[in-house]
Every structure is written in C-alpha cells, then in structure tokens.
C-alpha cells in the first residue's frame, strides 16, 4: 500500500476522466472562450444550450451534484430575480401580454430581454463554475508556474484558501468568546455593528502576529531561494491535440465577435 502511494507520484497525475485529465490551461481556455462567447452572442437559445452542456460535462466529470447545487442558487439569485426586475424596468418596449399574475401583466418583450441577459450571465457564470469545480487550485497554479509565473503567486493563491478555512474557525471562536463575556450580537443594527469590531480586530491582529513565524518557517524550507523548483505532483504537459482544441475555441470566439460587430454595423 505504501509503495503504491509512493509510486503514484512517479507518473503524471491522472484520474481517468477525459475532461478532468485535460491540462488545466486547456480547460481554462475552453471554459472562458465558451463563457465569453455567450456574452458576445447574448441570445437565450445559445446561452441556455451551453448551460445544458455544462451540466452534462459536470456530470461526466463526477461533480454533477456539486455543480448543480451552486448553479441553481445562481439561477434563482440572478435568473429569477432579474426576470421579475425586467418586467418592472423594461416596460417601455412591451406590447404583447403573455399572462396575468394576480392582475400583474407579464409581457413577452421584457421577458425575452431578461432571458437574453440571463443567458450570458448564467452562460459565463456556468463556464467559470465548471472550470473551478473540475480543476484543483494546485493544478491551476502548477500550470501557471510552468508558464513562468513565480512560486510566490502559487503560495498566495493556495495559502489564501487555507487561511480562509483557518480564519473562519478562529472567527467563530472569537465571536463565541465575545458573546460569553457579554457582547450583544442580537438586537438593533447598531448593537450588531458594535459586535463586529471586537470580532474582526483580534482576528486580524492574531493573523498578523503569526506571519513572522510563518516567514521563518518558510525560509527554513528554502522558500526564498532563487532556483528551479521541483514538484511532487506533475501533470502531463499540454498535448498537440489539446493545443489544437484550445486554438479552435479561441478562433471560434474571435469569429463570433467579428460576426457580431459586422452585424451591428450592417444594422
């Protein structure tokens, strides 16, 4: 078992899934090209078709539930809310009544406007969500380091994620401690604002005081040494096929943008 674990680091890290095993930069180019293309096209048929693809890819990558949970929250917060707002805000274009809801007439024109905006908001958001849900941050930073980005940048990204988890726990402890010594966290808004200060202050000062020790500990592991770094986990470099795939998505995005500009000029 131990040797199996050791040997797992001798070859490129793979999980046996087509989408997950793509090089992080390939996935990033594909996802961002698709996401940006939904903004360029801004048509509900195009945007929502991609949203269905996101669900499919997330399910194939084994994170369908996790993706659906976050995406559906966005759908409610952005999608449904915006649809209602446009029925109020975009009345000047309305002529066709769709239905009446307790005497409130819903119009087709403002509904289509809302759907078009929703399609690119959710189309872009879905692409970003798919990327982050199917790519580990350490793999993203590894691929950036291969491009020449400094290891300090990787440290900032990865350490931030760990710090969020650590400080969240500390903030709950501080808040509970402050409650136990009599600080009121319920009541009117000013009482609650007053409780914010004794929570965030110790949290930040405590985190600051740990930076010097961290700095020494990191230096003990040669963090500041200006030499080529080695990696315990290595990813397979971008293959020729992946480069071709990435280039195809970028070309398609540029073509869509050119077509969109041309159409708006001709109009």
């Amino acid at each position: 078992m131990d040797m199996q674990f050791v040997n797992s680091f001798k070859s490129y890290q793979k999980v046996g899934n087509f989408w997950c095993d793509l090089y992080p930069l390939t996935k990033m180019i594909i996802c961002f090209s698709v996401g940006l293309s939904t903004i360029v096209v801004a048509d509900w048929r195009y945007g929502f078709a991609w949203c269905l693809f996101y669900f499919l890819f997330a399910a194939l990558a084994g994170c369908g539930k996790k993706f659906a949970k976050v995406f559906l929250v966005l759908f409610v917060v952005i999608g449904l809310f915006l649809t209602v707002i446009r029925q109020i805000g975009a009345r000047d274009v309305n002529t066709t009544v769709m239905f009446s809801l307790f005497g409130w007439k819903w119009h087709l024109e403002s509904f289509v406007i809302a759907m078009n905006i929703n399609s690119y908001m959710l189309g872009f958001a879905g692409a970003v969500l798919l990327f982050f849900n199917t790519t580990a941050m350490r793999d993203i930073m590894y691929s950036f380091e291969m491009l020449g980005v400094s290891h300090e940048t990787s440290f900032i990204m990865l350490s931030s994620m760990q710090n969020i988890i650590d400080l969240r726990k500390t903030s709950v402890t501080i808040l509970e401690s402050q409650k136990s010594r009599g600080i009121e966290t319920d009541g009117n808004v000013f009482l609650r604002i007053k409780a914010f200060f004794p929570t965030i202050g110790p949290l930040m000062l405590g985190a600051f005081s740990s930076t010097e020790e961290k700095s020494i500990a990191m230096d003990a592991r040669a963090f500041s040494v200006d030499r080529k770094h080695t990696y315990i986990r290595e990813l397979e470099p971008m293959t020729g096929k992946e480069k071709l795939l990435s280039a195809a998505f970028v070309v398609a995005l540029v073509a869509l943008l050119a077509a969109r500009i041309l159409l708006s000029i001709l109009k």
Partner: protein, 205 residues
C-alpha cells in the same frame, strides 16, 4: 527599518491574510445579520500597510477566489483594486492617522464601491437595473420619485455603500492603532503609523 528583502516577504505573507479577512469580514456580517458587505477590510488594511501592489493583489485575488462560488463577482474586481490604490495613496499622505480624515476617506471608497459599482452593474446588466439588493431602493427611486434609471441605480448603490465603507474604514483605523510598533517597523508603509518615526529616521541618517 528592516532590510528591504524582509519587508517584501512580510508583505507577501500578509496578502493571503488580507484575502481571507475580505471573506471572513463578509461572513461575520452575515452571522451578525448586518445589511452590509464589509468585504474590503483586508484590501484596505494591506494596501495601507504594504503599498499599492500588495493591495491590488489582495483585491484581485479576493474576487478570483470569490468567483469559485459566485462567478459574477469577477466583473467587480476593478472595484477592489481601486480600493487598494486609493487606500495606499491616502495612507502615504497620512490620512488614516486621524479619525476625521479616516471618516472622510469613506466617501472616496463609497464613490468607488457605489458609483463605479453602479456603472459596472449598468453595463453588465444590459444598461438597466441589476439584480442586487440595491434594486430594492433603485426601483422605487425610479418608479415613485421619477428619477432616471441610471441615476436611481447610482444613488441606491452609493447610499448602501456609504454606511458599509464608514464601518470598514473605522475597522481599519482601529486595527492600525492596535498593531504593535515592532511589527509596523517591518512593513513598507508601517513608518507612517509609528509616532515620531520621521524624527528617528532623520536622526539615524
């Protein structure tokens, strides 16, 4: 003052803390059921203590990490970066040493957060109202008061941001006051907050 290399490294280690504080500040606000964002304390503190670039990095990375759960925050990344630029500039000028100047600085932050934020919302949401909490105020301002849509959005977002930024800068002010001098002396802009630091530096020279 410490050696330049040491200063840079401490600033580097403060960046992840600033990013985490941006997140946790927002979460404590939710825990306390406050109708405020309070998600830029880390950016302002790091920019005021370490300068422009560390602050800008805190602002940018905070929005990138936020995008993992809420991708639309990516559109608002320039706001957090602008907070860092303003905070570093005002810190160099010594604004955060006085409570009154600190309170006045909240107007600049509110104008960026609310004003520029309203412009971003206006563009992103197809030159109309957005879908944030500000619509609770912007729609009545348009429908009842009769203000143009953009002005209604601008006033609503700026209004919400004023209270948010007043609390934020007061928080930052109390943190600057509480940081030990020994720690401040190792930070790029820490000398601004040390009493008589200029005199000591002149004497040393």
């Amino acid at each position: 003052m410490a050696k330049q290399g040491k200063v840079n490294k401490l600033a580097l280690f403060l960046i992840p803390i600033g990013i985490a504080v941006n997140f946790i500040g927002g979460q404590i606000a939710i825990l306390l059921k406050l109708p405020l964002y309070l998600d830029s304390i880390g950016t302002i503190v790091v920019a005021a203590l370490c300068g422009y670039w560390p602050g800008i990095v805190v602002g940018l990375v905070s929005n990138i990490l936020n995008a993992i759960s809420s991708p639309t925050t990516l559109f608002y990344a320039p706001l957090n970066m602008a907070f860092a630029i303003v905070a570093a500039f005002l810190s160099q000028k010594g604004w955060f040493k006085s409570i009154w100047k600190t309170l006045v600085s909240s107007i600049f932050f509110a104008l960026i957060g609310g004003g520029v934020g309203a412009c971003i919302t206006w563009i992103v949401y197809g030159f109309d109202f957005g879908s944030g909490t500000s619509t609770i105020f912007s729609i009545p301002l348009h429908e009842v008061v009769g203000l143009p849509k953009f002005l209604a959005q601008f006033i609503a977002e700026s209004g919400i941001d004023v209270l948010d930024k007043v609390i934020t800068v007061l928080c930052c002010f109390s943190i600057f006051k509480a940081i030990p001098t020994r720690f401040l002396s190792k930070l790029p802009l820490g000398h601004v907050y040390i009493k008589d630091a200029d005199k000591v530096l002149e004497e040393a020279e």
